[in-house]
Protein backbone atom coordinates (compact mmCIF):
# COMPACT_ATOMS: atom_id res chain seq x y z
CA UNK A 1 0.00 0.00 0.00
CA UNK A 2 2.80 2.37 0.91
CA UNK A 3 4.59 1.62 -2.33
CA UNK A 4 1.54 2.45 -4.45
CA UNK A 5 1.03 5.79 -2.74
CA UNK A 6 4.65 6.64 -3.40
CA UNK A 7 4.29 5.64 -7.04
CA UNK A 8 1.31 7.92 -7.63
CA UNK A 9 0.70 10.64 -5.06
CA UNK A 10 -2.16 12.01 -7.14
CA UNK A 11 -4.25 8.86 -6.71
CA UNK A 12 -4.96 9.61 -3.09
CA UNK A 13 -5.92 13.22 -3.82
CA UNK A 14 -8.11 12.04 -6.67
CA UNK A 15 -9.91 9.59 -4.41
CA UNK A 16 -10.67 12.44 -2.00
CA UNK A 17 -12.51 14.31 -4.72
CA UNK A 18 -14.53 11.49 -6.21
CA UNK A 19 -18.33 11.61 -5.97
CA UNK A 20 -19.43 9.29 -3.19
CA UNK A 21 -22.52 7.10 -3.14
CA UNK A 22 -23.90 9.06 -0.20
CA UNK A 23 -23.67 12.30 -2.16
CA UNK A 24 -25.58 10.89 -5.11
CA UNK A 25 -28.18 9.47 -2.74
CA UNK A 26 -28.51 12.86 -1.05
CA UNK A 27 -29.26 14.67 -4.28
CA UNK A 28 -31.70 12.00 -5.43
CA UNK A 29 -33.45 12.33 -2.08
CA UNK A 30 -33.95 16.05 -2.66
CA UNK A 31 -36.41 15.07 -5.40
CA UNK A 32 -38.56 13.04 -2.99
CA UNK A 33 -40.71 15.95 -1.73
CA UNK A 34 -42.27 16.21 -5.22
CA UNK A 35 -43.59 12.66 -4.83
CA UNK A 36 -43.89 12.01 -1.12
CA UNK A 37 -44.84 15.38 0.35
CA UNK A 38 -46.46 17.60 -2.28
CA UNK A 39 -48.20 19.49 0.53
CA UNK A 40 -44.86 20.59 1.92
CA UNK A 41 -43.26 21.93 -1.25
CA UNK A 42 -43.39 25.50 -0.01
CA UNK A 43 -41.52 24.46 3.11
CA UNK A 44 -39.13 22.48 0.92
CA UNK A 45 -38.42 25.58 -1.14
CA UNK A 46 -37.68 27.52 2.07
CA UNK A 47 -35.31 24.73 3.09
CA UNK A 48 -33.51 24.86 -0.27
CA UNK A 49 -33.11 28.64 0.00
CA UNK A 50 -31.79 28.29 3.55
CA UNK A 51 -29.42 25.55 2.35
CA UNK A 52 -28.04 27.82 -0.34
CA UNK A 53 -27.52 30.54 2.25
CA UNK A 54 -25.76 28.11 4.62
CA UNK A 55 -23.56 26.89 1.78
CA UNK A 56 -22.39 30.46 1.34
CA UNK A 57 -21.56 30.84 5.04
CA UNK A 58 -19.76 27.49 5.07
CA UNK A 59 -17.39 28.70 2.35
CA UNK A 60 -16.17 31.57 4.53
CA UNK A 61 -16.56 30.11 8.02
CA UNK A 62 -16.01 26.41 7.45
CA UNK A 63 -13.25 26.71 4.87
CA UNK A 64 -11.50 30.01 5.53
CA UNK A 65 -12.32 30.46 9.22
CA UNK A 66 -14.03 33.84 8.78
CA UNK A 67 -16.71 34.17 11.46
CA UNK A 68 -19.73 36.27 10.53
CA UNK A 69 -22.76 37.42 12.45
CA UNK A 70 -23.98 39.67 9.67
CA UNK A 71 -24.21 37.41 6.67
CA UNK A 72 -27.85 38.40 6.10
CA UNK A 73 -26.51 41.71 4.70
CA UNK A 74 -25.65 39.93 1.44
CA UNK A 75 -28.77 37.76 1.47
CA UNK A 76 -30.86 40.91 1.88
CA UNK A 77 -28.95 42.81 -0.81
CA UNK A 78 -29.75 40.00 -3.23
CA UNK A 79 -33.40 39.87 -2.15
CA UNK A 80 -33.96 43.61 -2.50
CA UNK A 81 -32.09 43.79 -5.80
CA UNK A 82 -34.18 40.98 -7.28
CA UNK A 83 -37.35 42.55 -5.91
CA UNK A 84 -36.54 46.01 -7.23
CA UNK A 85 -35.65 44.76 -10.70
CA UNK A 86 -39.01 43.03 -10.86
CA UNK A 87 -40.81 46.10 -9.56
CA UNK A 88 -39.13 48.18 -12.25
CA UNK A 89 -40.77 45.91 -14.81
CA UNK A 90 -38.23 43.16 -15.48
CA UNK A 91 -39.64 40.02 -13.90
CA UNK A 92 -37.50 37.47 -15.75
CA UNK A 93 -36.16 35.32 -12.90
CA UNK A 94 -32.85 33.96 -14.25
CA UNK A 95 -31.37 37.31 -15.26
CA UNK A 96 -32.81 38.78 -12.07
CA UNK A 97 -31.00 36.10 -10.09
CA UNK A 98 -27.70 36.82 -11.80
CA UNK A 99 -28.00 40.59 -11.36
CA UNK A 100 -28.95 40.19 -7.69
CA UNK A 101 -25.96 37.90 -7.12
CA UNK A 102 -23.65 40.41 -8.80
CA UNK A 103 -25.02 43.25 -6.68
CA UNK A 104 -24.49 41.26 -3.48
CA UNK A 105 -21.03 40.26 -4.74
CA UNK A 106 -20.14 43.89 -5.33
CA UNK A 107 -21.18 44.78 -1.79
CA UNK A 108 -19.23 41.75 -0.58
CA UNK A 109 -16.14 42.85 -2.49
CA UNK A 110 -16.27 46.36 -1.01
CA UNK A 111 -16.72 45.11 2.55
CA UNK A 112 -14.10 42.37 2.10
CA UNK A 113 -11.35 44.97 2.39
CA UNK A 114 -12.32 45.49 6.03
CA UNK A 115 -13.05 41.82 6.64
CA UNK A 116 -9.63 40.66 5.42
CA UNK A 117 -7.83 42.71 8.05
CA UNK A 118 -9.48 41.11 11.09
CA UNK A 119 -10.10 37.75 12.66
CA UNK A 120 -12.03 36.21 15.55
CA UNK A 121 -13.86 38.53 17.96
CA UNK A 122 -13.28 41.84 16.12
CA UNK A 123 -14.59 40.15 13.00
CA UNK A 124 -17.80 39.14 14.76
CA UNK A 125 -18.32 42.75 15.81
CA UNK A 126 -17.58 44.13 12.34
CA UNK A 127 -19.88 41.72 10.52
CA UNK A 128 -22.58 42.39 13.10
CA UNK A 129 -22.08 46.10 12.49
CA UNK A 130 -22.34 45.73 8.72
CA UNK A 131 -25.58 43.80 9.15
CA UNK A 132 -27.14 46.40 11.47
CA UNK A 133 -25.99 49.28 9.28
CA UNK A 134 -27.57 47.82 6.21
CA UNK A 135 -30.83 46.93 7.90
CA UNK A 136 -31.30 50.42 9.30
CA UNK A 137 -30.36 51.96 5.94
CA UNK A 138 -33.03 49.85 4.26
CA UNK A 139 -35.47 50.83 6.99
CA UNK A 140 -34.89 54.55 6.53
CA UNK A 141 -34.84 54.40 2.72
CA UNK A 142 -38.49 53.45 2.64
CA UNK A 143 -39.03 55.23 -0.71
CA UNK A 144 -36.87 52.51 -2.23
CA UNK A 145 -37.42 49.46 -0.04
CA UNK A 146 -40.90 50.04 1.31
CA UNK A 147 -39.35 50.26 4.75
CA UNK A 148 -41.19 48.46 7.51
CA UNK A 149 -44.10 47.52 5.21
CA UNK A 150 -41.81 45.62 2.88
CA UNK A 151 -41.35 45.76 -0.85
CA UNK A 152 -44.71 45.36 -2.60
CA UNK A 153 -45.64 44.82 -6.21
CA UNK A 154 -43.08 42.20 -7.21
CA UNK A 155 -44.14 40.02 -10.07
CA UNK A 156 -41.97 37.14 -11.23
CA UNK A 157 -42.44 35.91 -14.77
CA UNK A 158 -42.59 32.18 -15.50
CA UNK A 159 -39.19 30.49 -15.53
CA UNK A 160 -37.93 30.06 -19.12
CA UNK A 161 -41.31 31.43 -20.10
CA UNK A 162 -42.96 28.13 -19.15
CA UNK A 163 -43.02 27.37 -15.44
CA UNK A 164 -45.38 29.68 -13.64
CA UNK A 165 -44.93 30.12 -9.85
CA UNK A 166 -47.89 28.22 -8.39
CA UNK A 167 -49.63 28.21 -5.01
CA UNK A 168 -48.39 24.76 -4.09
CA UNK A 169 -44.72 25.52 -4.56
CA UNK A 170 -43.89 23.08 -7.37
CA UNK A 171 -42.09 25.75 -9.34
CA UNK A 172 -40.70 27.45 -6.25
CA UNK A 173 -39.09 24.24 -5.01
CA UNK A 174 -37.89 23.20 -8.45
CA UNK A 175 -36.34 26.62 -8.99
CA UNK A 176 -34.71 26.81 -5.54
CA UNK A 177 -33.43 23.25 -5.84
CA UNK A 178 -31.98 23.86 -9.30
CA UNK A 179 -30.23 27.02 -8.08
CA UNK A 180 -28.90 25.16 -5.05
CA UNK A 181 -27.61 22.24 -7.10
CA UNK A 182 -25.88 24.31 -9.77
CA UNK A 183 -24.23 26.59 -7.21
CA UNK A 184 -23.29 23.58 -5.08
CA UNK A 185 -21.45 22.10 -8.07
CA UNK A 186 -19.47 25.31 -8.32
CA UNK A 187 -18.70 25.32 -4.59
CA UNK A 188 -17.63 21.69 -4.74
CA UNK A 189 -15.26 22.46 -7.58
CA UNK A 190 -13.91 25.41 -5.61
CA UNK A 191 -13.06 23.45 -2.48
CA UNK A 192 -11.17 20.88 -4.56
CA UNK A 193 -9.16 23.53 -6.37
CA UNK A 194 -5.78 24.99 -5.38
CA UNK A 195 -7.74 27.93 -4.00
CA UNK A 196 -9.79 25.57 -1.81
CA UNK A 197 -6.55 24.14 -0.45
CA UNK A 198 -5.31 27.67 0.28
CA UNK A 199 -8.53 28.42 2.19
CA UNK A 200 -8.02 25.35 4.38
CA UNK A 201 -4.49 26.59 4.95
CA UNK A 202 -5.81 29.96 6.14
CA UNK A 203 -8.27 28.27 8.48
CA UNK A 204 -5.57 26.00 9.91
CA UNK A 205 -2.77 28.53 10.34
CA UNK A 206 -2.96 31.94 8.71
CA UNK A 207 0.41 33.00 10.17
CA UNK A 208 2.14 30.11 8.48
CA UNK A 209 0.37 30.97 5.23
CA UNK A 210 2.30 34.23 5.19
CA UNK A 211 5.53 32.34 5.83
CA UNK A 212 4.99 30.28 2.67
CA UNK A 213 4.49 33.46 0.68
CA UNK A 214 0.69 33.36 0.47
CA UNK A 215 -1.33 36.49 -0.19
CA UNK A 216 -3.89 35.65 2.46
CA UNK A 217 -5.68 38.98 2.28
CA UNK A 218 -6.44 38.62 -1.38
CA UNK A 219 -7.56 35.00 -0.83
CA UNK A 220 -9.97 36.20 1.85
CA UNK A 221 -11.30 38.99 -0.36
CA UNK A 222 -11.94 36.50 -3.15
CA UNK A 223 -13.82 33.95 -1.07
CA UNK A 224 -15.77 36.64 0.76
CA UNK A 225 -16.94 38.07 -2.56
CA UNK A 226 -17.91 34.64 -3.87
CA UNK A 227 -19.79 33.85 -0.66
CA UNK A 228 -21.61 37.20 -0.83
CA UNK A 229 -22.71 36.38 -4.39
CA UNK A 230 -24.11 33.03 -3.30
CA UNK A 231 -25.90 34.61 -0.33
CA UNK A 232 -27.33 37.18 -2.74
CA UNK A 233 -28.54 34.42 -5.05
CA UNK A 234 -30.32 32.77 -2.10
CA UNK A 235 -31.99 36.07 -1.24
CA UNK A 236 -33.03 36.56 -4.86
CA UNK A 237 -34.66 33.13 -5.02
CA UNK A 238 -36.61 33.98 -1.87
CA UNK A 239 -37.78 37.35 -3.23
CA UNK A 240 -38.72 35.90 -6.60
CA UNK A 241 -40.57 32.86 -5.30
CA UNK A 242 -42.49 34.65 -2.52
CA UNK A 243 -42.89 37.88 -4.53
CA UNK A 244 -42.29 39.93 -1.43
CA UNK A 245 -39.28 41.30 0.46
CA UNK A 246 -39.45 42.43 4.06
CA UNK A 247 -36.80 44.03 6.28
CA UNK A 248 -36.45 40.67 7.99
CA UNK A 249 -34.23 39.46 5.08
CA UNK A 250 -31.52 41.75 6.47
CA UNK A 251 -32.24 40.99 10.10
CA UNK A 252 -29.90 39.81 12.81
CA UNK A 253 -32.21 36.84 13.34
CA UNK A 254 -31.47 35.59 9.84
CA UNK A 255 -27.72 35.96 10.34
CA UNK A 256 -27.95 34.06 13.61
CA UNK A 257 -30.22 31.36 12.14
CA UNK A 258 -27.83 30.60 9.31
CA UNK A 259 -24.93 30.31 11.73
CA UNK A 260 -26.97 27.94 13.88
CA UNK A 261 -27.85 25.78 10.87
CA UNK A 262 -24.19 25.52 9.90
CA UNK A 263 -22.97 24.62 13.37
CA UNK A 264 -25.85 22.19 13.77
CA UNK A 265 -24.94 20.36 10.58
CA UNK A 266 -21.16 20.64 10.85
CA UNK A 267 -18.78 23.23 9.39
CA UNK A 268 -16.29 22.78 6.59
CA UNK A 269 -18.00 19.88 4.87
CA UNK A 270 -20.46 21.51 2.42
CA UNK A 271 -23.05 18.83 3.17
CA UNK A 272 -23.04 19.71 6.87
CA UNK A 273 -24.70 23.03 6.16
CA UNK A 274 -27.24 21.43 3.84
CA UNK A 275 -28.15 18.85 6.46
CA UNK A 276 -28.29 21.56 9.13
CA UNK A 277 -30.69 23.58 7.01
CA UNK A 278 -33.01 20.61 6.55
CA UNK A 279 -33.03 19.69 10.25
CA UNK A 280 -33.37 23.28 11.46
CA UNK A 281 -36.13 24.31 9.08
CA UNK A 282 -38.16 21.12 9.60
CA UNK A 283 -37.68 21.32 13.38
CA UNK A 284 -38.75 24.96 13.34
CA UNK A 285 -41.83 24.06 11.34
CA UNK A 286 -42.75 21.27 13.74
CA UNK A 287 -41.95 23.16 16.94
CA UNK A 288 -43.84 26.24 15.85
CA UNK A 289 -46.82 24.01 15.11
CA UNK A 290 -46.63 22.43 18.55
CA UNK A 291 -45.94 25.56 20.48
CA UNK A 292 -46.45 28.75 18.45
CA UNK A 293 -45.20 31.12 21.14
CA UNK A 294 -42.18 29.45 22.63
CA UNK A 295 -40.76 27.41 19.82
CA UNK A 296 -37.32 29.02 20.05
CA UNK A 297 -37.06 27.29 23.41
CA UNK A 298 -36.88 23.96 21.61
CA UNK A 299 -34.47 25.29 19.02
CA UNK A 300 -32.22 26.39 21.87
CA UNK A 301 -32.40 22.98 23.46
CA UNK A 302 -31.66 21.27 20.15
CA UNK A 303 -28.65 23.50 19.59
CA UNK A 304 -27.15 22.85 23.02
CA UNK A 305 -27.78 19.12 22.74
CA UNK A 306 -26.07 18.87 19.36
CA UNK A 307 -23.04 20.93 20.31
CA UNK A 308 -22.56 19.02 23.58
CA UNK A 309 -23.05 15.54 22.15
CA UNK A 310 -21.69 16.11 18.63
CA UNK A 311 -19.06 18.84 18.65
CA UNK A 312 -18.55 18.48 14.90
CA UNK A 313 -22.25 18.76 14.16
CA UNK A 314 -24.70 16.19 12.85
CA UNK A 315 -22.57 15.29 9.86
CA UNK A 316 -19.47 14.97 12.05
CA UNK A 317 -21.42 12.56 14.24
CA UNK A 318 -22.64 10.59 11.24
CA UNK A 319 -19.17 10.17 9.79
CA UNK A 320 -17.89 9.08 13.20
CA UNK A 321 -20.61 6.40 13.33
CA UNK A 322 -19.84 5.10 9.85
CA UNK A 323 -16.12 4.98 10.63
CA UNK A 324 -16.84 2.97 13.79
CA UNK A 325 -19.13 0.63 11.89
CA UNK A 326 -16.43 0.08 9.29
CA UNK A 327 -13.80 -0.53 11.96
CA UNK A 328 -16.00 -3.20 13.57
CA UNK A 329 -16.82 -5.11 10.41
Amino acid sequence: MTSTTIAEPRDYLQAQMRWRLGEIAFWLATLLPFVLAPDYLLLASQVAIAALFVLSLDLILGFAGIVSLGHAAYFGTGAYTAGLISKLGWGEPLTGLVIAALAAGLFGYVTSFIIARFRHLPLIMITLGIGLLLQESANSASWLTGGFDGLQGIHTWPILGRFRFDLYGYTAYGYALAALFVIFLGARRLIHSPFGLALRGIRDNSQRMRAIGATTHSHIRTIYTIAAMIAGAAGAVLAQSTETVSLEVLGFQRSADVLVMLILGGTGRLYGGLLGAVVYMVARDQFSGLNPQYWYFWIGLLLIAVVVVLPNGLLGGLSLLTRRAKAQS
Binding site: L13, P194, L197, D204, N205, M209, A211, I212, G213
Partner: protein, 255 residues
Protein backbone atom coordinates in the same frame (compact mmCIF):
# COMPACT_ATOMS: atom_id res chain seq x y z
CA UNK B 1 33.46 42.80 -1.93
CA UNK B 2 31.32 39.78 -2.73
CA UNK B 3 27.58 40.21 -2.56
CA UNK B 4 25.82 38.53 0.32
CA UNK B 5 22.60 36.52 -0.02
CA UNK B 6 21.15 38.15 3.08
CA UNK B 7 22.46 40.98 5.19
CA UNK B 8 21.41 42.98 8.23
CA UNK B 9 22.92 46.45 8.53
CA UNK B 10 22.82 48.34 11.79
CA UNK B 11 19.54 46.79 12.87
CA UNK B 12 18.05 48.06 16.13
CA UNK B 13 14.92 46.88 17.87
CA UNK B 14 13.59 47.58 21.33
CA UNK B 15 10.42 46.68 23.17
CA UNK B 16 9.95 49.56 25.58
CA UNK B 17 13.19 49.74 27.53
CA UNK B 18 14.24 46.22 26.57
CA UNK B 19 16.83 46.22 23.80
CA UNK B 20 16.44 43.03 21.77
CA UNK B 21 18.68 44.00 18.86
CA UNK B 22 21.43 46.60 19.08
CA UNK B 23 23.27 47.60 15.92
CA UNK B 24 23.26 44.11 14.48
CA UNK B 25 25.43 43.65 11.39
CA UNK B 26 25.38 40.30 9.74
CA UNK B 27 26.09 38.99 6.25
CA UNK B 28 25.25 35.59 4.89
CA UNK B 29 27.18 34.74 1.69
CA UNK B 30 25.51 32.59 -0.99
CA UNK B 31 25.60 28.91 -0.05
CA UNK B 32 26.52 29.68 3.56
CA UNK B 33 26.13 27.14 6.38
CA UNK B 34 26.18 29.47 9.36
CA UNK B 35 25.10 28.78 12.91
CA UNK B 36 23.65 31.43 15.21
CA UNK B 37 24.27 30.66 18.85
CA UNK B 38 23.88 32.45 22.14
CA UNK B 39 22.28 32.03 25.55
CA UNK B 40 18.51 32.11 25.97
CA UNK B 41 17.15 35.60 25.52
CA UNK B 42 20.12 36.72 23.42
CA UNK B 43 17.75 37.79 20.64
CA UNK B 44 18.35 35.01 18.12
CA UNK B 45 14.71 34.36 17.24
CA UNK B 46 14.04 38.11 17.31
CA UNK B 47 16.76 38.54 14.72
CA UNK B 48 15.08 35.95 12.49
CA UNK B 49 11.76 37.73 12.98
CA UNK B 50 13.39 41.01 12.01
CA UNK B 51 15.01 39.57 8.91
CA UNK B 52 11.86 37.79 7.72
CA UNK B 53 9.62 40.80 8.36
CA UNK B 54 7.57 39.41 11.24
CA UNK B 55 8.97 42.38 13.16
CA UNK B 56 9.93 45.80 11.85
CA UNK B 57 13.30 47.16 13.00
CA UNK B 58 13.42 50.59 14.68
CA UNK B 59 16.53 51.37 12.66
CA UNK B 60 18.72 49.67 10.08
CA UNK B 61 18.22 47.76 6.89
CA UNK B 62 17.62 44.21 5.75
CA UNK B 63 19.07 43.38 2.34
CA UNK B 64 18.08 40.32 0.35
CA UNK B 65 20.67 40.06 -2.39
CA UNK B 66 20.95 43.65 -3.59
CA UNK B 67 17.41 44.58 -2.71
CA UNK B 68 16.44 46.49 0.40
CA UNK B 69 13.49 44.53 1.80
CA UNK B 70 13.17 46.39 5.10
CA UNK B 71 9.73 47.74 4.21
CA UNK B 72 8.35 44.52 2.70
CA UNK B 73 5.77 42.25 4.31
CA UNK B 74 6.83 38.69 5.25
CA UNK B 75 5.02 37.08 2.31
CA UNK B 76 6.71 39.47 -0.12
CA UNK B 77 10.11 38.50 1.26
CA UNK B 78 9.23 34.82 0.91
CA UNK B 79 8.38 35.43 -2.73
CA UNK B 80 11.82 36.97 -3.19
CA UNK B 81 13.53 33.89 -1.78
CA UNK B 82 13.71 34.27 2.00
CA UNK B 83 12.15 31.35 3.88
CA UNK B 84 12.16 30.32 7.51
CA UNK B 85 11.07 27.56 9.87
CA UNK B 86 9.77 27.92 13.39
CA UNK B 87 11.20 26.80 16.69
CA UNK B 88 7.76 25.63 17.75
CA UNK B 89 6.01 23.67 15.01
CA UNK B 90 3.78 25.91 12.96
CA UNK B 91 2.11 23.58 10.49
CA UNK B 92 -1.30 23.04 8.92
CA UNK B 93 -2.62 20.42 11.36
CA UNK B 94 -5.50 19.13 9.22
CA UNK B 95 -3.71 19.12 5.86
CA UNK B 96 -1.72 16.07 4.87
CA UNK B 97 2.01 16.51 4.37
CA UNK B 98 1.53 16.35 0.61
CA UNK B 99 -1.33 18.85 0.67
CA UNK B 100 0.70 21.24 2.82
CA UNK B 101 3.73 21.23 0.57
CA UNK B 102 1.59 21.28 -2.61
CA UNK B 103 -0.10 24.38 -1.21
CA UNK B 104 3.27 26.04 -0.70
CA UNK B 105 4.33 25.13 -4.25
CA UNK B 106 1.03 26.48 -5.63
CA UNK B 107 1.53 29.74 -3.75
CA UNK B 108 5.02 30.09 -5.17
CA UNK B 109 3.76 29.47 -8.69
CA UNK B 110 0.88 31.91 -8.18
CA UNK B 111 -1.83 29.38 -8.97
CA UNK B 112 -3.38 29.31 -5.50
CA UNK B 113 -6.03 31.85 -6.56
CA UNK B 114 -7.42 29.47 -9.17
CA UNK B 115 -10.77 28.16 -7.97
CA UNK B 116 -12.28 26.81 -11.17
CA UNK B 117 -9.70 24.09 -11.87
CA UNK B 118 -9.29 20.93 -9.87
CA UNK B 119 -6.14 20.57 -7.82
CA UNK B 120 -5.34 17.14 -9.27
CA UNK B 121 -4.86 18.67 -12.71
CA UNK B 122 -1.76 20.42 -11.32
CA UNK B 123 0.53 17.45 -11.91
CA UNK B 124 3.81 19.33 -11.84
CA UNK B 125 3.04 21.06 -8.57
CA UNK B 126 2.01 17.84 -6.86
CA UNK B 127 5.01 15.99 -8.26
CA UNK B 128 7.40 18.69 -7.07
CA UNK B 129 5.86 18.65 -3.59
CA UNK B 130 6.17 14.89 -3.49
CA UNK B 131 9.83 15.01 -4.46
CA UNK B 132 10.58 17.49 -1.68
CA UNK B 133 8.90 15.15 0.81
CA UNK B 134 10.77 12.11 -0.52
CA UNK B 135 14.07 13.98 -0.26
CA UNK B 136 13.28 14.69 3.40
CA UNK B 137 12.33 11.06 4.11
CA UNK B 138 8.63 11.89 4.35
CA UNK B 139 7.53 10.08 1.19
CA UNK B 140 5.83 7.23 3.02
CA UNK B 141 3.99 9.57 5.36
CA UNK B 142 2.85 12.05 2.72
CA UNK B 143 -0.86 11.26 3.02
CA UNK B 144 -1.03 11.66 6.77
CA UNK B 145 -2.36 14.88 8.32
CA UNK B 146 0.42 16.97 9.85
CA UNK B 147 -0.99 16.63 13.36
CA UNK B 148 -0.73 12.82 13.15
CA UNK B 149 2.93 12.79 12.12
CA UNK B 150 5.64 11.82 14.60
CA UNK B 151 7.33 14.83 16.15
CA UNK B 152 10.56 14.38 14.20
CA UNK B 153 8.56 14.14 10.97
CA UNK B 154 6.79 17.37 11.83
CA UNK B 155 10.17 19.07 12.17
CA UNK B 156 11.08 17.79 8.71
CA UNK B 157 7.75 19.01 7.32
CA UNK B 158 8.62 22.46 8.65
CA UNK B 159 11.70 22.38 6.45
CA UNK B 160 9.79 20.90 3.50
CA UNK B 161 7.31 23.80 3.63
CA UNK B 162 10.16 26.30 3.60
CA UNK B 163 11.89 24.52 0.71
CA UNK B 164 8.72 24.56 -1.38
CA UNK B 165 9.13 28.31 -1.78
CA UNK B 166 12.50 27.65 -3.49
CA UNK B 167 14.42 29.89 -1.14
CA UNK B 168 17.81 31.44 -1.77
CA UNK B 169 18.14 31.93 1.96
CA UNK B 170 16.77 29.60 4.60
CA UNK B 171 16.60 30.56 8.28
CA UNK B 172 16.10 27.58 10.58
CA UNK B 173 15.03 28.36 14.13
CA UNK B 174 16.22 25.41 16.19
CA UNK B 175 15.27 22.85 13.56
CA UNK B 176 16.00 19.96 15.92
CA UNK B 177 14.29 21.42 18.99
CA UNK B 178 12.76 18.60 20.99
CA UNK B 179 14.06 15.90 18.67
CA UNK B 180 16.04 13.05 20.29
CA UNK B 181 19.79 13.24 19.71
CA UNK B 182 20.02 10.36 17.24
CA UNK B 183 17.21 11.73 15.09
CA UNK B 184 18.54 15.26 15.21
CA UNK B 185 21.74 14.05 13.56
CA UNK B 186 19.66 12.64 10.69
CA UNK B 187 17.78 15.88 10.50
CA UNK B 188 20.98 17.88 10.26
CA UNK B 189 22.33 15.47 7.68
CA UNK B 190 19.23 16.32 5.61
CA UNK B 191 19.96 20.02 6.08
CA UNK B 192 23.60 19.53 5.15
CA UNK B 193 22.44 17.77 2.00
CA UNK B 194 20.46 20.81 0.80
CA UNK B 195 21.47 22.41 -2.46
CA UNK B 196 24.49 24.71 -2.22
CA UNK B 197 22.43 27.38 -3.96
CA UNK B 198 20.69 27.92 -0.65
CA UNK B 199 22.34 29.96 2.07
CA UNK B 200 21.43 28.49 5.47
CA UNK B 201 21.48 30.11 8.88
CA UNK B 202 20.43 27.92 11.78
CA UNK B 203 19.94 28.50 15.48
CA UNK B 204 21.06 25.52 17.52
CA UNK B 205 21.99 24.88 21.14
CA UNK B 206 23.75 21.56 20.69
CA UNK B 207 27.41 22.53 20.21
CA UNK B 208 28.35 19.17 18.75
CA UNK B 209 25.84 19.71 15.93
CA UNK B 210 26.91 23.31 15.49
CA UNK B 211 30.56 22.45 15.12
CA UNK B 212 29.85 19.57 12.82
CA UNK B 213 27.48 21.27 10.40
CA UNK B 214 28.36 24.96 10.44
CA UNK B 215 31.27 26.45 8.51
CA UNK B 216 30.97 29.67 10.50
CA UNK B 217 29.45 30.51 13.84
CA UNK B 218 27.87 33.78 14.95
CA UNK B 219 27.59 34.37 18.68
CA UNK B 220 24.86 36.67 19.98
CA UNK B 221 24.63 38.01 23.50
CA UNK B 222 22.17 40.55 24.85
CA UNK B 223 20.86 41.65 21.45
CA UNK B 224 24.22 42.21 19.79
CA UNK B 225 26.68 40.08 17.93
CA UNK B 226 29.63 39.30 20.16
CA UNK B 227 31.86 37.56 17.65
CA UNK B 228 31.77 35.66 14.40
CA UNK B 229 34.27 33.07 13.20
CA UNK B 230 35.02 29.51 12.24
CA UNK B 231 34.08 26.85 14.79
CA UNK B 232 37.73 26.57 15.79
CA UNK B 233 38.03 30.31 16.36
CA UNK B 234 34.84 30.35 18.38
CA UNK B 235 35.90 27.52 20.68
CA UNK B 236 39.18 29.22 21.45
CA UNK B 237 37.74 32.73 21.87
CA UNK B 238 38.08 33.64 25.54
CA UNK B 239 35.07 36.01 25.44
CA UNK B 240 32.83 33.29 24.08
CA UNK B 241 34.15 30.76 26.57
CA UNK B 242 33.34 33.17 29.35
CA UNK B 243 29.78 34.12 28.42
CA UNK B 244 28.52 31.17 26.52
CA UNK B 245 30.44 27.93 26.28
CA UNK B 246 31.21 27.75 29.96
CA UNK B 247 27.56 28.12 30.72
CA UNK B 248 26.62 25.63 28.04
CA UNK B 249 29.09 23.09 29.42
CA UNK B 250 27.62 23.49 32.86
CA UNK B 251 24.21 22.87 31.38
CA UNK B 252 25.45 19.65 29.81
CA UNK B 253 26.82 18.46 33.09
CA UNK B 254 23.56 18.94 34.91
CA UNK B 255 21.38 17.54 32.35
Amino acid sequence: MSESALAARGVDKRFGSLVVAANVNLALPPGARHALIGPNGAGKTTLINLMTGMLRPDAGQILLGREDVTALAPEQRVRRGLARTYQINSLFPHLTALESVTLAVCERRRVAQTWWRRLITYREEIEEAHQILVALMLGAACHRPARELAYGQQRLLEIALALASRPKVLLLDEPAAGVPREESKELFAAIAGLSRDIAVLFIEHDMELVFRFASRVIVMVGGSILVEGTPAEITSDPQVRAVYLGKAQREYRYG
